[in-house]
């Protein structure tokens, strides 16, 4: 079987007919009623696209600066329970995975038809609260399985073919701890790494086969555990450096201040197998101002503008609400720091609005304290942090951006829009009005843009007159 032939076959025929016809041709044990998705040419496998969290689809060749002006809606899929979408869709060939509210879904990425849905067990009183429940975690697809977290602070491993649960691990089930997992797992070398938010955050590494916990790192160790607090919530996802066997995480601010509050508000490196702390960089010690790291760590190599031979910086970078920091990923020493916004609890590259591509760091920053409020999109030189281009947006933004094939894709909260900018210049190439605030991440995969509509921060679970949907855009809607 080749991937191309199967995909084109499925596109021409109905899914059921195709599977029925193919069942006799291929190994029934693999195909059966539903098959493991076959890889596409330019898949988006997890929250950050790759293990480095670049949010840059380097394999995408179909959608480019010339094509995006012709992007048209192809299909939409409404969430079953009407819940807003905050996750980034994962796309593997003909299959799309995403989670929202009480469900995780598998869709046919070409038609938007649902393959299966999985009930995450979130409901009842949990649904009455915006911050705790729901599903903001994006799935990591790995070898026929998907891994994701939920607002109940459970991690699930499902069979990608049929949605059957392989294992589930409750990371923090004490209700008074208000633990919630908006974090998107990273799967690497037999490990699943997650973090969570709540009274007392931890980084947790699990065995990918069984879900058994291998190590835990309680972030704010200064605060004695008996106080059941410490804070340092983790909102994003981890990045991997394969060379060092390291996993990078970022944390939010502390809730209690018994000491310097290490390792809150920090970018932290651990050995992924042993949990050994390699180094940590704390942006703001004893931060009482809520200047969380709210954008994911990104692993990248930055080339000097002078292009001197061998002058490459081995970087890990991440954005907090005050600035973006770029560090030496082997030592934690700072290369550069750039700030495009006044620090505040609602400022900065909110909800992971960063990407790295073409020797640039792409970043959206929010300036809600300026008059009028100011949302910016910019490209910074990855080696120096210097601004290469900068453009003001029509409103503020709080969703993960994506870059692919010379285009940066972004969502705005108000006005609710998705836009495509030229990654070289920042010039706007295309935009589309959405029904409501864009909070979920952009995904570019196999010639299509997948985006979603959600709600702003004021939403408290009310019914809305419009659905919350995944939207698929392709050239001319074909």
């Amino acid at each position: 079987m080749t991937h191309v032939s199967r995909r084109s076959f499925l596109e021409t025929g109905g899914r059921a007919a195709a599977i029925g016809a193919l069942a006799g041709v291929w190994r029934p044990s693999v195909v059966g009623a539903a098959a493991v998705p076959a890889a596409g040419a330019a898949d988006w496998t997890r929250f950050g696209y790759d293990l480095h969290n670049t949010r840059f689809n380097r394999n995408e060749k179909t959608l480019g600066p010339r094509e995006v002006a012709r992007l048209k809606p192809k299909w939409t899929f409404d969430t079953i329970d009407g819940w807003p979408i905050q996750s980034t869709p994962t796309v593997i060939g003909d299959t799309l995975f995403f989670g929202a509210g009480g469900h995780y879904y598998s869709l046919d990425s070409a038609s938007g038809r649902m393959n299966w849905s999985f009930d995450t067990g979130i409901g009842g009183e949990w649904l009455a609260n915006w911050l705790l429940p729901g599903t903001r975690s994006s799935a990591h697809y790995h070898e026929g399985r998907i891994y994701f977290g939920t607002g109940l602070c459970n991690v699930h491993c499902l069979d990608a073919a049929n949605g059957r649960e392989i294992w589930k691990t409750a990371i923090e089930s004490r209700k008074e701890m208000m633990a919630s997992m908006m974090f998107s797992p990273v799967v690497y070398n037999g490990n699943v790494v997650v973090g969570y938010s709540g009274s007392m955050a931890e980084i947790v590494c699990m065995h990918a086969e069984t879900g058994a916990v291998r190590w835990r790192f309680r972030v704010v160790k200064d605060v004695p555990e008996k106080y059941q607090t410490g804070g340092a919530s983790m909102w994003t996802s981890a990045a991997i450096d394969e060379q060092q066997n390291a996993v990078f995480n970022v944390t939010g601010n502390a809730k209690a201040f018994s000491g310097p509050t290490l390792y809150a508000n920090s970018l932290i490196a651990h050995d992924i197998d042993t949990g050994e702390l390699l180094w940590a960089y704390q942006a703001h010690p004893q931060d009482i101002h809520d200047l969380d790291f709210c954008a994911h760590p990104m692993v990248f190599d930055a080339v000097s503008p002078q292009r001197s031979r061998g002058d490459v910086r081995r970087c890990v970078g991440a954005g907090n609400k005050a600035n973006f920091v770029c560090l030496n990923r082997h030592t934690g020493e700072m290369f550069w720091k750039a700030s495009l916004n006044a620090p505040s609890a609602n400022s900065g590259p909110l909800i992971c609005a960063t990407a790295v591509a073409y020797n640039r760091v792409y970043i959206q920053t929010a300036n809600p304290t300026s008059r009028p409020t100011l949302g910016l999109s910019a490209a910074l030189n990855a080696y120096t942090g210097d601004v290469e281009w900068l453009t003001a947006n029509e409103g503020l933004q709080a969703s993960p951006i994506a870059v692919a094939n010379g285009v940066m894709y972004q969502g705005l909260v108000n006005p609710a829009k998705i836009q495509a900018l030229d990654a070289e210049t920042g010039q706007q190439l295309w935009e589309y009005d959405m029904r409501s605030a864009v909070r979920g991440g952009m995904t570019i995969a196999n010639g299509a843009l997948y985006a979603s509509n959600g709600e702003g921060g004021g939403w408290q679970g009310q019914k809305t007159p419009y659905p919350h949907s995944i939207h698929c855009f392709t050239v001319d809607g074909k």
């Binding site: 059941q228 607090t229 703001h284 809520d290």
Partner: protein, 200 residues
């Protein structure tokens, strides 16, 4: 608490008769346990409060909008029994400690303490004293180790007094508490640079 002791107290206070305490015997003085001003301050408000001998103080803490992760805030007397802090309550008084005020059945977290000994009581939050989350209760007439300068116990090997805590305690002179009955949290005294610890 009997009438006698209150009369005794008023007699002792002398001129204080004119400034009859507003705090009734049955009801408690209320201190708000705050999470944060926009400037990130954690506080007890009022920072200084007067109650009559035998009176009660109730600390109240409310989550905002039903949502809030645990902060581990506590109401803990300055006493060697509490994490080796210096003695800042009357020697005969029992040390009190609410423990982490984490369990909220109704959304409100409360802690009450009845003060049986006269004198000056200083208290702190176990996990927030470093940013100045301390307060003072004067019961009847001020007096006792609480009148010592903040940090006096360091030479005896007690836990050090955080500068921000000393600032708040020094802003609550006991005599002023007796006269005014309450001293609001002096929020402008412990404002941190914003963002704190940032080097530009």
């Amino acid at each position: 608490m009997g009438r006698l002791s209150r009369r005794e107290l008023l007699a002792a206070a002398g001129a204080g008769v004119l400034a009859l305490p507003r705090v009734g015997l049955a009801q408690a003085a209320v201190v708000r346990v705050g999470l944060a001003y926009p400037r990130g301050q954690y506080f007890f408000d009022p920072a200084g409060v007067w109650i009559p001998h035998g009176g009660t103080v109730r600390w109240e803490f409310a989550f905002s909008g039903g949502v809030g992760a645990l902060m581990g805030v506590s109401v803990t007397a300055f006493h060697p029994a509490n994490e080796n802090h210096e003695l800042r309550i009357p020697a005969a008084a029992k040390p009190f400690d609410s423990g982490p005020m984490n369990k909220a059945a109704s959304g409100f977290i409360r802690f009450e303490h009845v003060f049986d000994e006269e004198g000056t009581y200083d208290y702190f939050s176990l996990t927030h004293e470093s940013i100045g989350m301390v307060g003072r209760v004067v019961v009847g007439r001020p007096g006792g180790p609480g009148e010592q300068p903040p940090g006096y116990g360091a030479r005896d090997g007690r836990a050090p007094m955080f500068p921000a805590s000393a600032v708040i305690l020094n802003a609550c002179p006991s005599q002023q508490i007796v006269e005014k009955k309450t001293i609001p949290y002096p929020r402008d005294l412990v404002v941190r640079p914003y963002p704190y610890g940032e080097t530009r």
